[in-house]
Protein backbone atom coordinates (compact mmCIF):
# COMPACT_ATOMS: atom_id res chain seq x y z
CA UNK A 1 0.00 0.00 0.00
CA UNK A 2 1.15 3.52 -0.68
CA UNK A 3 1.91 5.70 2.29
CA UNK A 4 2.13 8.87 0.23
CA UNK A 5 0.64 9.43 -3.17
CA UNK A 6 1.10 12.82 -4.79
CA UNK A 7 -0.12 13.76 -8.23
CA UNK A 8 0.44 17.05 -10.08
CA UNK A 9 0.81 18.90 -6.84
CA UNK A 10 1.14 22.64 -7.17
CA UNK A 11 1.33 25.51 -4.71
CA UNK A 12 1.16 29.15 -5.66
CA UNK A 13 1.74 32.01 -3.25
CA UNK A 14 0.86 35.62 -3.68
CA UNK A 15 3.73 37.61 -2.34
CA UNK A 16 3.19 41.28 -1.66
CA UNK A 17 5.30 43.58 -3.74
CA UNK A 18 6.69 46.57 -1.92
CA UNK A 19 7.33 49.44 -4.28
CA UNK A 20 10.21 51.74 -3.64
CA UNK A 21 10.17 55.16 -2.09
CA UNK A 22 7.42 57.32 -0.66
CA UNK A 23 5.35 57.39 -3.83
CA UNK A 24 5.66 53.63 -4.00
CA UNK A 25 4.49 53.27 -0.40
CA UNK A 26 1.51 55.52 -1.16
CA UNK A 27 0.63 53.50 -4.23
CA UNK A 28 0.92 50.32 -2.16
CA UNK A 29 -1.51 51.81 0.30
CA UNK A 30 -4.25 52.06 -2.30
CA UNK A 31 -3.47 49.33 -4.73
CA UNK A 32 -1.36 46.44 -3.63
CA UNK A 33 0.55 44.56 -6.22
CA UNK A 34 1.32 40.92 -5.84
CA UNK A 35 3.97 38.72 -7.26
CA UNK A 36 2.80 35.25 -7.98
CA UNK A 37 5.35 32.71 -6.86
CA UNK A 38 4.92 29.07 -7.68
CA UNK A 39 6.86 27.20 -5.04
CA UNK A 40 5.89 23.70 -6.12
CA UNK A 41 5.25 23.02 -9.79
CA UNK A 42 3.13 19.99 -10.60
CA UNK A 43 5.15 17.34 -8.88
CA UNK A 44 4.14 13.69 -8.64
CA UNK A 45 5.66 10.90 -6.60
CA UNK A 46 4.65 7.88 -4.60
CA UNK A 47 6.19 6.46 -1.49
CA UNK A 48 5.30 2.93 -0.42
CA UNK A 49 4.91 2.00 3.22
CA UNK A 50 8.07 1.34 5.15
CA UNK A 51 10.37 3.32 2.90
CA UNK A 52 12.82 5.97 4.04
CA UNK A 53 12.91 8.64 1.42
CA UNK A 54 15.21 11.63 1.33
CA UNK A 55 13.87 14.86 -0.05
CA UNK A 56 16.66 17.19 -1.03
CA UNK A 57 17.17 20.42 -2.89
CA UNK A 58 18.60 23.87 -2.52
CA UNK A 59 17.14 26.44 -0.19
CA UNK A 60 13.89 27.64 -1.65
CA UNK A 61 13.49 24.66 -3.94
CA UNK A 62 10.08 23.90 -2.41
CA UNK A 63 10.93 21.12 0.00
CA UNK A 64 9.33 22.62 3.09
CA UNK A 65 6.30 23.74 1.12
CA UNK A 66 5.77 20.17 -0.03
CA UNK A 67 6.16 18.82 3.49
CA UNK A 68 3.68 21.39 4.73
CA UNK A 69 1.14 20.31 2.16
CA UNK A 70 1.71 16.65 2.96
CA UNK A 71 1.13 17.30 6.65
CA UNK A 72 -2.06 19.29 6.09
CA UNK A 73 -0.67 22.65 7.14
CA UNK A 74 -0.94 24.21 3.70
CA UNK A 75 -3.76 23.82 1.25
CA UNK A 76 -2.47 23.02 -2.24
CA UNK A 77 -3.40 25.21 -5.18
CA UNK A 78 -4.06 22.19 -7.34
CA UNK A 79 -3.28 18.51 -7.56
CA UNK A 80 -4.07 15.46 -5.46
CA UNK A 81 -2.47 14.31 -2.26
CA UNK A 82 -3.21 11.14 -0.37
CA UNK A 83 -1.31 10.42 2.77
CA UNK A 84 -2.31 7.35 4.75
CA UNK A 85 -5.45 7.35 2.65
CA UNK A 86 -6.44 10.85 3.80
CA UNK A 87 -6.51 14.14 1.97
CA UNK A 88 -4.38 15.97 4.55
CA UNK A 89 -5.92 19.45 4.56
CA UNK A 90 -9.48 18.17 4.50
CA UNK A 91 -9.70 15.86 7.49
CA UNK A 92 -6.86 17.57 9.28
CA UNK A 93 -7.78 16.67 12.84
CA UNK A 94 -8.34 12.99 12.03
CA UNK A 95 -5.43 12.76 9.64
CA UNK A 96 -2.72 14.13 11.93
CA UNK A 97 -3.36 11.33 14.44
CA UNK A 98 -1.53 9.00 12.10
CA UNK A 99 1.52 11.11 11.37
CA UNK A 100 4.45 12.48 13.31
CA UNK A 101 6.23 15.67 12.33
CA UNK A 102 9.51 17.17 13.45
CA UNK A 103 10.56 20.60 12.29
CA UNK A 104 14.25 21.07 12.98
CA UNK A 105 13.84 24.81 13.22
CA UNK A 106 10.69 24.96 15.29
CA UNK A 107 9.91 23.45 18.62
CA UNK A 108 6.68 21.59 19.16
CA UNK A 109 7.22 21.27 22.87
CA UNK A 110 5.79 23.86 25.20
CA UNK A 111 8.54 26.23 26.11
CA UNK A 112 7.56 26.93 29.70
CA UNK A 113 6.75 23.52 31.05
CA UNK A 114 8.84 20.46 31.80
CA UNK A 115 9.58 17.85 29.15
CA UNK A 116 7.52 15.16 30.84
CA UNK A 117 4.59 17.56 31.21
CA UNK A 118 4.79 18.30 27.51
CA UNK A 119 4.66 14.57 26.82
CA UNK A 120 1.73 14.11 29.17
CA UNK A 121 -0.13 16.90 27.42
CA UNK A 122 0.56 15.32 24.05
CA UNK A 123 -0.69 12.02 25.42
CA UNK A 124 -4.01 13.65 26.14
CA UNK A 125 -4.08 15.54 22.87
CA UNK A 126 -3.53 12.34 20.91
CA UNK A 127 -5.74 10.30 23.22
CA UNK A 128 -3.10 7.68 23.97
CA UNK A 129 -3.96 5.42 26.90
CA UNK A 130 -1.79 5.77 29.99
CA UNK A 131 -0.60 2.18 29.54
CA UNK A 132 0.52 2.53 25.92
CA UNK A 133 2.04 5.87 26.72
CA UNK A 134 4.17 4.42 29.53
CA UNK A 135 5.32 1.56 27.37
CA UNK A 136 6.31 3.74 24.45
CA UNK A 137 7.86 6.41 26.59
CA UNK A 138 10.03 3.91 28.45
CA UNK A 139 11.35 2.48 25.20
CA UNK A 140 11.98 5.90 23.66
CA UNK A 141 13.59 7.32 26.78
CA UNK A 142 15.95 4.38 26.95
CA UNK A 143 16.84 4.48 23.26
CA UNK A 144 17.49 8.19 23.16
CA UNK A 145 18.88 8.42 26.69
CA UNK A 146 16.55 11.08 27.96
CA UNK A 147 16.38 9.82 31.54
CA UNK A 148 17.57 12.83 33.45
CA UNK A 149 16.14 15.37 30.98
CA UNK A 150 12.52 14.54 31.62
CA UNK A 151 12.04 16.89 34.52
CA UNK A 152 13.79 19.88 33.04
CA UNK A 153 11.91 22.75 31.46
CA UNK A 154 12.20 22.73 27.68
CA UNK A 155 13.82 26.15 27.55
CA UNK A 156 16.79 24.84 29.53
CA UNK A 157 17.63 22.04 27.09
CA UNK A 158 20.52 22.19 24.68
CA UNK A 159 19.70 21.88 20.99
CA UNK A 160 20.77 18.25 20.89
CA UNK A 161 18.72 17.39 23.95
CA UNK A 162 15.74 19.27 22.61
CA UNK A 163 15.91 17.54 19.27
CA UNK A 164 15.84 14.12 20.91
CA UNK A 165 12.83 15.23 22.93
CA UNK A 166 11.15 16.52 19.76
CA UNK A 167 11.58 13.09 18.21
CA UNK A 168 9.97 11.42 21.20
CA UNK A 169 7.15 13.96 21.11
CA UNK A 170 6.45 13.17 17.48
CA UNK A 171 6.38 9.42 18.11
CA UNK A 172 4.33 9.10 21.29
CA UNK A 173 1.15 8.35 19.37
CA UNK A 174 2.87 5.69 17.27
CA UNK A 175 2.45 7.30 13.86
CA UNK A 176 2.88 5.19 10.74
CA UNK A 177 4.47 8.06 8.80
CA UNK A 178 7.13 10.37 10.13
CA UNK A 179 7.96 13.67 8.43
CA UNK A 180 11.28 15.18 9.34
CA UNK A 181 12.09 18.67 8.13
CA UNK A 182 15.81 19.17 8.62
CA UNK A 183 15.97 17.09 11.80
CA UNK A 184 19.74 17.26 12.21
CA UNK A 185 20.26 20.95 11.56
CA UNK A 186 22.80 22.44 13.93
CA UNK A 187 23.52 19.19 15.78
CA UNK A 188 26.92 17.77 16.62
CA UNK A 189 28.10 14.58 15.04
CA UNK A 190 27.39 12.41 18.08
CA UNK A 191 23.76 13.42 18.31
CA UNK A 192 23.39 13.21 14.53
CA UNK A 193 24.64 9.64 14.54
CA UNK A 194 22.44 8.75 17.46
CA UNK A 195 19.37 10.11 15.73
CA UNK A 196 20.22 8.36 12.47
CA UNK A 197 20.69 5.02 14.21
CA UNK A 198 17.46 5.48 16.06
CA UNK A 199 15.49 6.28 12.91
CA UNK A 200 17.01 3.33 11.08
CA UNK A 201 16.12 0.95 13.87
CA UNK A 202 12.59 2.27 14.14
CA UNK A 203 12.09 1.88 10.42
CA UNK A 204 13.29 -1.71 10.59
CA UNK A 205 11.33 -2.74 13.65
CA UNK A 206 8.07 -0.91 13.18
CA UNK A 207 8.09 -0.30 9.45
CA UNK A 208 7.59 3.43 9.94
CA UNK A 209 7.61 5.32 6.67
CA UNK A 210 9.97 8.28 6.87
CA UNK A 211 10.21 11.28 4.59
CA UNK A 212 13.01 13.60 5.48
CA UNK A 213 14.40 16.81 4.08
CA UNK A 214 17.95 17.70 4.87
CA UNK A 215 20.97 19.59 3.70
CA UNK A 216 23.26 17.08 5.31
CA UNK A 217 23.83 14.43 2.69
CA UNK A 218 25.31 12.12 5.26
CA UNK A 219 21.81 11.82 6.66
CA UNK A 220 20.71 10.65 3.25
CA UNK A 221 23.60 8.24 2.85
CA UNK A 222 23.04 6.74 6.27
CA UNK A 223 19.27 6.39 6.00
CA UNK A 224 17.72 6.62 2.60
CA UNK A 225 17.30 4.00 0.00
CA UNK A 226 15.66 6.54 -2.21
CA UNK A 227 16.17 10.21 -2.95
CA UNK A 228 13.88 12.76 -4.49
CA UNK A 229 15.70 15.84 -5.64
CA UNK A 230 13.88 19.09 -6.14
CA UNK A 231 14.97 22.15 -8.01
CA UNK A 232 12.90 25.28 -8.49
CA UNK A 233 9.72 23.44 -7.58
CA UNK A 234 10.25 20.51 -9.92
CA UNK A 235 11.50 17.00 -9.31
CA UNK A 236 14.77 16.56 -11.11
CA UNK A 237 15.67 13.17 -9.78
CA UNK A 238 13.76 10.34 -8.16
CA UNK A 239 15.52 7.09 -7.52
CA UNK A 240 18.19 5.25 -5.58
CA UNK A 241 21.15 7.00 -4.04
CA UNK A 242 23.68 4.68 -5.72
CA UNK A 243 22.18 5.33 -9.09
CA UNK A 244 22.39 9.06 -8.45
CA UNK A 245 26.05 8.70 -7.68
CA UNK A 246 26.77 6.57 -10.71
CA UNK A 247 24.90 8.88 -12.97
CA UNK A 248 26.45 12.09 -11.87
CA UNK A 249 29.88 11.27 -10.55
CA UNK A 250 32.35 11.97 -13.31
CA UNK A 251 35.36 10.20 -12.03
CA UNK A 252 37.58 9.43 -9.09
CA UNK A 253 40.77 10.63 -7.61
CA UNK A 254 43.84 8.65 -6.62
CA UNK A 255 46.45 10.00 -4.28
CA UNK A 256 49.99 8.69 -4.43
CA UNK A 257 52.72 9.06 -1.90
CA UNK A 258 56.12 8.48 -3.51
CA UNK A 259 59.34 7.38 -1.92
CA UNK A 260 61.25 10.26 -3.41
CA UNK A 261 60.50 13.55 -5.07
CA UNK A 262 58.80 12.95 -8.38
CA UNK A 263 58.38 15.85 -10.79
CA UNK A 264 55.04 16.48 -12.49
CA UNK A 265 56.56 16.04 -15.94
CA UNK A 266 57.60 12.52 -15.19
CA UNK A 267 54.13 11.58 -13.96
CA UNK A 268 52.49 13.10 -17.00
CA UNK A 269 54.86 11.16 -19.19
CA UNK A 270 54.04 7.90 -17.47
CA UNK A 271 50.31 8.25 -18.09
CA UNK A 272 50.70 9.97 -21.40
CA UNK A 273 47.97 8.65 -23.67
CA UNK A 274 45.40 8.47 -20.84
CA UNK A 275 43.11 11.43 -20.16
CA UNK A 276 44.07 12.02 -16.56
CA UNK A 277 45.07 15.18 -14.79
CA UNK A 278 47.79 15.46 -12.21
CA UNK A 279 48.11 17.89 -9.32
CA UNK A 280 51.12 18.02 -7.06
CA UNK A 281 50.28 18.32 -3.37
CA UNK A 282 53.83 18.55 -2.07
CA UNK A 283 57.31 17.15 -2.80
CA UNK A 284 56.30 13.51 -2.50
CA UNK A 285 52.53 13.49 -2.87
CA UNK A 286 50.48 13.88 -6.02
CA UNK A 287 46.85 13.40 -6.98
CA UNK A 288 45.59 11.91 -10.19
CA UNK A 289 42.06 12.55 -11.37
CA UNK A 290 40.66 10.09 -13.81
CA UNK A 291 37.25 10.03 -15.50
CA UNK A 292 35.12 6.89 -15.52
CA UNK A 293 36.21 6.22 -19.08
CA UNK A 294 39.72 5.45 -17.95
CA UNK A 295 40.21 2.15 -16.19
CA UNK A 296 41.77 2.35 -12.77
CA UNK A 297 44.00 -0.69 -13.18
CA UNK A 298 45.38 0.64 -16.43
CA UNK A 299 46.33 3.97 -14.92
CA UNK A 300 47.66 2.42 -11.74
CA UNK A 301 49.81 -0.06 -13.60
CA UNK A 302 51.51 2.74 -15.51
CA UNK A 303 52.28 4.74 -12.41
CA UNK A 304 53.37 1.76 -10.31
CA UNK A 305 55.64 0.56 -13.08
CA UNK A 306 57.56 3.81 -13.24
CA UNK A 307 57.91 4.97 -9.64
CA UNK A 308 58.42 3.72 -6.17
CA UNK A 309 55.25 4.18 -4.13
CA UNK A 310 54.73 4.29 -0.38
CA UNK A 311 50.96 4.68 -0.23
CA UNK A 312 47.90 4.87 -2.44
CA UNK A 313 44.44 6.21 -1.61
CA UNK A 314 41.41 6.12 -3.88
CA UNK A 315 38.70 8.74 -3.39
CA UNK A 316 35.21 8.19 -4.79
CA UNK A 317 33.55 11.51 -5.60
CA UNK A 318 31.47 12.06 -2.52
CA UNK A 319 27.79 12.79 -2.60
CA UNK A 320 28.34 16.37 -1.54
CA UNK A 321 30.36 17.06 -4.65
CA UNK A 322 27.88 15.33 -6.88
CA UNK A 323 24.93 17.18 -5.44
CA UNK A 324 26.78 20.47 -5.54
CA UNK A 325 27.45 19.81 -9.20
CA UNK A 326 23.78 19.17 -9.87
CA UNK A 327 22.66 22.26 -7.96
CA UNK A 328 25.14 24.41 -9.83
CA UNK A 329 24.25 23.06 -13.22
CA UNK A 330 20.66 23.90 -12.26
CA UNK A 331 18.85 20.92 -13.67
CA UNK A 332 19.01 17.22 -14.00
CA UNK A 333 18.76 17.46 -17.75
CA UNK A 334 22.22 18.99 -17.94
CA UNK A 335 23.50 16.16 -15.80
CA UNK A 336 21.93 13.54 -18.01
CA UNK A 337 23.43 15.03 -21.14
CA UNK A 338 26.94 14.84 -19.80
CA UNK A 339 26.37 11.28 -18.76
CA UNK A 340 25.10 10.33 -22.17
CA UNK A 341 27.81 12.13 -24.09
Amino acid sequence: MLAIDVKDLRKKFNVQKNREGLSGALKDLFKREYNEVTAVKDISFQIPQGEICGYIGENGAGKSTTIKMLTGILVPTSGDIRVNGFIPYKDREKFVNGIGVVFGQRSQLWWDIGVIESFQLLRKVYRVSEQDFRKRLDVLVERLQLGELLNRPVRKLSLGQRMRCELVASLLHNPSILFLDEPTIGLDIVVKTEIRDFLMQMNKEQGTTILLTTHDLQDIEALCSRVIMLDDGRIIYDGGLDELKNRWSKGREIQFQFAAHTPLEKLKQLTDPLEVTWTLENEVTAKMWLPHAVSVSDALARVVGGTEIRDIKIFETNTDDIVRGIYQSGSAAAGKETVMS
Partner: protein, 264 residues
Protein backbone atom coordinates in the same frame (compact mmCIF):
# COMPACT_ATOMS: atom_id res chain seq x y z
CA UNK B 1 -9.70 14.93 24.48
CA UNK B 2 -11.60 17.22 26.78
CA UNK B 3 -8.97 16.57 29.42
CA UNK B 4 -6.35 17.92 27.01
CA UNK B 5 -8.29 21.15 26.66
CA UNK B 6 -8.64 21.39 30.43
CA UNK B 7 -4.91 20.85 30.68
CA UNK B 8 -4.37 23.92 28.54
CA UNK B 9 -6.35 25.93 31.08
CA UNK B 10 -4.34 24.45 33.93
CA UNK B 11 -0.96 24.95 32.32
CA UNK B 12 -1.65 28.56 31.38
CA UNK B 13 -2.88 29.19 34.91
CA UNK B 14 0.31 27.75 36.40
CA UNK B 15 2.45 29.67 33.95
CA UNK B 16 0.77 32.92 34.90
CA UNK B 17 1.24 32.01 38.52
CA UNK B 18 4.97 31.70 37.92
CA UNK B 19 5.02 35.27 36.65
CA UNK B 20 2.58 36.61 39.24
CA UNK B 21 4.86 39.40 40.43
CA UNK B 22 4.21 41.17 37.11
CA UNK B 23 0.60 41.52 38.13
CA UNK B 24 1.04 43.12 41.53
CA UNK B 25 1.84 46.39 39.82
CA UNK B 26 -1.29 45.86 37.73
CA UNK B 27 -3.47 46.02 40.83
CA UNK B 28 -2.01 49.41 41.69
CA UNK B 29 -2.41 50.71 38.14
CA UNK B 30 -6.05 49.65 38.07
CA UNK B 31 -6.63 51.23 41.50
CA UNK B 32 -5.16 54.50 40.21
CA UNK B 33 -7.36 54.35 37.12
CA UNK B 34 -10.43 53.74 39.21
CA UNK B 35 -9.40 56.61 41.54
CA UNK B 36 -8.93 59.01 38.63
CA UNK B 37 -12.33 58.19 37.17
CA UNK B 38 -13.92 58.36 40.64
CA UNK B 39 -12.71 61.93 41.19
CA UNK B 40 -13.54 62.89 37.62
CA UNK B 41 -17.11 61.70 37.98
CA UNK B 42 -17.39 63.40 41.37
CA UNK B 43 -16.50 66.67 39.66
CA UNK B 44 -18.88 66.06 36.77
CA UNK B 45 -21.79 65.26 39.06
CA UNK B 46 -21.22 68.31 41.30
CA UNK B 47 -24.56 68.87 43.03
CA UNK B 48 -26.58 66.75 40.66
CA UNK B 49 -28.26 63.66 42.00
CA UNK B 50 -28.39 61.61 38.83
CA UNK B 51 -26.93 61.77 35.36
CA UNK B 52 -28.20 59.56 32.52
CA UNK B 53 -29.95 57.38 35.08
CA UNK B 54 -26.86 56.80 37.25
CA UNK B 55 -26.69 58.07 40.82
CA UNK B 56 -23.25 59.15 42.08
CA UNK B 57 -23.08 56.00 44.12
CA UNK B 58 -24.04 53.77 41.23
CA UNK B 59 -21.45 55.51 39.11
CA UNK B 60 -18.69 54.88 41.63
CA UNK B 61 -19.64 51.23 41.80
CA UNK B 62 -19.99 51.08 38.00
CA UNK B 63 -16.46 52.45 37.53
CA UNK B 64 -14.95 50.08 40.10
CA UNK B 65 -16.81 47.02 38.86
CA UNK B 66 -16.18 47.76 35.19
CA UNK B 67 -12.45 48.19 35.64
CA UNK B 68 -12.20 45.09 37.75
CA UNK B 69 -14.21 43.14 35.21
CA UNK B 70 -11.74 44.33 32.59
CA UNK B 71 -8.96 42.99 34.81
CA UNK B 72 -10.59 39.59 34.39
CA UNK B 73 -11.67 39.43 30.76
CA UNK B 74 -8.71 41.25 29.29
CA UNK B 75 -6.21 39.08 27.44
CA UNK B 76 -3.69 39.25 24.65
CA UNK B 77 -5.06 36.45 22.50
CA UNK B 78 -5.01 38.77 19.48
CA UNK B 79 -1.31 39.43 19.93
CA UNK B 80 -0.51 35.78 20.64
CA UNK B 81 -2.31 34.61 17.53
CA UNK B 82 -0.80 37.34 15.35
CA UNK B 83 2.69 36.50 16.61
CA UNK B 84 2.24 32.80 15.99
CA UNK B 85 1.06 33.53 12.48
CA UNK B 86 3.88 35.95 11.79
CA UNK B 87 6.71 33.77 13.09
CA UNK B 88 5.22 30.66 11.54
CA UNK B 89 4.76 28.64 14.70
CA UNK B 90 1.09 28.28 13.80
CA UNK B 91 2.36 25.45 11.55
CA UNK B 92 3.19 23.39 14.63
CA UNK B 93 -0.31 23.99 15.96
CA UNK B 94 -1.81 22.63 12.79
CA UNK B 95 -0.09 19.24 13.01
CA UNK B 96 -1.93 18.45 16.22
CA UNK B 97 -5.33 16.84 16.34
CA UNK B 98 -7.07 19.72 18.07
CA UNK B 99 -8.78 22.91 17.17
CA UNK B 100 -6.25 25.70 17.31
CA UNK B 101 -8.77 28.38 18.13
CA UNK B 102 -10.37 26.33 20.88
CA UNK B 103 -6.95 25.78 22.43
CA UNK B 104 -6.35 29.53 22.29
CA UNK B 105 -9.70 30.11 23.98
CA UNK B 106 -8.76 27.64 26.72
CA UNK B 107 -5.41 29.33 27.26
CA UNK B 108 -7.25 32.63 27.46
CA UNK B 109 -9.54 31.13 30.07
CA UNK B 110 -6.58 29.86 32.09
CA UNK B 111 -5.27 33.39 32.05
CA UNK B 112 -8.72 34.68 32.96
CA UNK B 113 -8.95 32.40 35.99
CA UNK B 114 -5.58 33.57 37.16
CA UNK B 115 -6.54 37.19 36.64
CA UNK B 116 -9.77 36.66 38.54
CA UNK B 117 -8.20 34.99 41.57
CA UNK B 118 -4.98 36.97 41.87
CA UNK B 119 -5.89 40.25 40.28
CA UNK B 120 -9.60 40.97 40.24
CA UNK B 121 -10.55 39.69 43.69
CA UNK B 122 -7.67 41.30 45.66
CA UNK B 123 -8.01 44.42 43.50
CA UNK B 124 -11.71 44.63 44.31
CA UNK B 125 -10.98 44.34 48.02
CA UNK B 126 -8.41 47.13 47.81
CA UNK B 127 -10.77 49.35 45.83
CA UNK B 128 -13.65 48.74 48.23
CA UNK B 129 -11.46 49.84 51.11
CA UNK B 130 -10.45 53.09 49.43
CA UNK B 131 -13.60 54.22 47.60
CA UNK B 132 -17.26 54.26 48.65
CA UNK B 133 -18.32 51.31 46.52
CA UNK B 134 -21.65 49.72 47.34
CA UNK B 135 -21.93 46.14 46.24
CA UNK B 136 -25.31 44.43 45.90
CA UNK B 137 -26.44 42.19 48.74
CA UNK B 138 -28.70 39.91 46.77
CA UNK B 139 -26.84 36.65 46.02
CA UNK B 140 -28.90 36.19 42.85
CA UNK B 141 -27.49 39.46 41.45
CA UNK B 142 -24.00 38.16 42.19
CA UNK B 143 -24.69 34.86 40.51
CA UNK B 144 -26.22 36.54 37.46
CA UNK B 145 -23.27 38.84 37.25
CA UNK B 146 -20.71 36.03 37.43
CA UNK B 147 -22.39 34.21 34.56
CA UNK B 148 -22.55 37.43 32.58
CA UNK B 149 -18.91 38.10 33.35
CA UNK B 150 -18.05 34.72 31.86
CA UNK B 151 -19.80 35.75 28.68
CA UNK B 152 -17.98 39.08 28.76
CA UNK B 153 -14.82 37.04 28.66
CA UNK B 154 -16.09 34.88 25.81
CA UNK B 155 -17.19 37.82 23.65
CA UNK B 156 -14.04 39.82 24.32
CA UNK B 157 -11.87 36.80 23.50
CA UNK B 158 -13.82 36.20 20.31
CA UNK B 159 -13.15 39.76 19.22
CA UNK B 160 -9.48 39.24 20.08
CA UNK B 161 -9.30 36.03 18.09
CA UNK B 162 -10.92 37.71 15.11
CA UNK B 163 -8.45 40.60 15.30
CA UNK B 164 -5.51 38.22 15.65
CA UNK B 165 -6.59 36.17 12.65
CA UNK B 166 -6.30 39.24 10.46
CA UNK B 167 -2.55 38.67 10.58
CA UNK B 168 -3.23 36.05 7.93
CA UNK B 169 -4.41 38.72 5.53
CA UNK B 170 -2.24 41.73 6.22
CA UNK B 171 1.48 41.84 6.74
CA UNK B 172 1.24 43.72 9.99
CA UNK B 173 -1.94 44.03 11.99
CA UNK B 174 -0.37 45.90 14.88
CA UNK B 175 -2.41 49.02 14.08
CA UNK B 176 -5.58 47.00 13.93
CA UNK B 177 -4.88 45.47 17.32
CA UNK B 178 -4.32 48.87 18.89
CA UNK B 179 -7.46 50.25 17.34
CA UNK B 180 -9.41 47.26 18.60
CA UNK B 181 -8.10 47.81 22.11
CA UNK B 182 -9.20 51.44 22.18
CA UNK B 183 -12.52 50.58 20.59
CA UNK B 184 -13.27 47.84 23.09
CA UNK B 185 -12.41 50.08 26.04
CA UNK B 186 -14.45 52.98 24.72
CA UNK B 187 -17.44 51.21 23.21
CA UNK B 188 -17.80 48.58 25.89
CA UNK B 189 -18.41 51.37 28.36
CA UNK B 190 -15.36 51.01 30.59
CA UNK B 191 -14.26 54.59 30.07
CA UNK B 192 -17.69 56.18 29.77
CA UNK B 193 -21.00 54.36 30.25
CA UNK B 194 -22.87 54.08 26.96
CA UNK B 195 -25.82 56.00 28.46
CA UNK B 196 -23.63 59.12 28.23
CA UNK B 197 -22.94 58.70 24.52
CA UNK B 198 -24.73 61.05 22.09
CA UNK B 199 -28.01 59.61 20.87
CA UNK B 200 -26.86 58.53 17.43
CA UNK B 201 -23.77 56.81 18.79
CA UNK B 202 -25.57 54.90 21.50
CA UNK B 203 -28.07 53.89 18.83
CA UNK B 204 -25.23 52.42 16.82
CA UNK B 205 -23.85 50.74 19.95
CA UNK B 206 -27.13 48.84 20.26
CA UNK B 207 -26.09 46.94 17.17
CA UNK B 208 -22.51 46.19 18.13
CA UNK B 209 -21.17 43.49 20.44
CA UNK B 210 -19.05 45.81 22.60
CA UNK B 211 -21.78 46.83 25.06
CA UNK B 212 -22.23 43.16 25.96
CA UNK B 213 -18.69 43.08 27.31
CA UNK B 214 -18.93 45.68 30.09
CA UNK B 215 -21.82 48.06 29.92
CA UNK B 216 -24.71 45.61 30.08
CA UNK B 217 -23.39 43.33 32.83
CA UNK B 218 -22.13 46.24 34.93
CA UNK B 219 -25.49 47.98 34.64
CA UNK B 220 -27.18 44.88 35.98
CA UNK B 221 -24.69 44.56 38.82
CA UNK B 222 -24.97 48.17 39.94
CA UNK B 223 -28.74 47.94 39.90
CA UNK B 224 -29.27 50.49 37.14
CA UNK B 225 -30.83 47.75 35.07
CA UNK B 226 -33.39 46.10 37.37
CA UNK B 227 -33.01 42.39 38.04
CA UNK B 228 -36.20 41.62 36.14
CA UNK B 229 -34.55 42.85 32.93
CA UNK B 230 -31.42 40.83 33.49
CA UNK B 231 -32.63 37.91 31.42
CA UNK B 232 -32.96 39.81 28.09
CA UNK B 233 -29.52 41.32 28.74
CA UNK B 234 -28.09 37.86 29.24
CA UNK B 235 -29.92 36.68 26.13
CA UNK B 236 -28.22 39.44 24.15
CA UNK B 237 -24.83 38.24 25.34
CA UNK B 238 -25.62 34.70 24.28
CA UNK B 239 -26.78 35.91 20.88
CA UNK B 240 -23.54 37.85 20.37
CA UNK B 241 -21.48 34.89 21.47
CA UNK B 242 -23.21 32.65 18.96
CA UNK B 243 -23.21 35.33 16.30
CA UNK B 244 -19.48 35.96 16.53
CA UNK B 245 -18.74 32.30 15.92
CA UNK B 246 -19.79 32.79 12.30
CA UNK B 247 -17.21 35.40 11.25
CA UNK B 248 -14.51 33.53 13.19
CA UNK B 249 -15.34 30.32 11.36
CA UNK B 250 -15.37 32.08 7.99
CA UNK B 251 -12.10 33.91 8.67
CA UNK B 252 -10.42 30.73 9.80
CA UNK B 253 -11.57 28.89 6.70
CA UNK B 254 -10.33 31.63 4.41
CA UNK B 255 -7.10 31.91 6.39
CA UNK B 256 -6.25 28.22 5.98
CA UNK B 257 -6.20 28.74 2.22
CA UNK B 258 -4.07 31.84 2.46
CA UNK B 259 -1.68 30.58 5.07
CA UNK B 260 1.87 30.86 4.05
CA UNK B 261 4.37 29.87 6.58
CA UNK B 262 7.08 32.39 7.01
CA UNK B 263 10.63 31.27 7.21
CA UNK B 264 10.54 28.25 4.94
Amino acid sequence: MMSAYIDFIRIRFLMMLAYRVNYYSGIIIYAINIGAYYFLWQAIYGDQETLAGFTVNQMTTYVAVSWMARAFYFNNLDREIANEIRDGSVAVQLIRPYSYLLVKMMQGFGEGLFRMLLFMVPGMIVVCLIFPVTLPKDPITWLTYLIMLFFSFLINSQINILTGLFAFFVENNEGMMRMKRVMVDLFSGVVVPIAFFPGWLSAIMQWLPFQAITYLPSSVFTGRTPGSEALPVFGLQVIWFAGLLVPIWLTWRAARKRLFVQGG
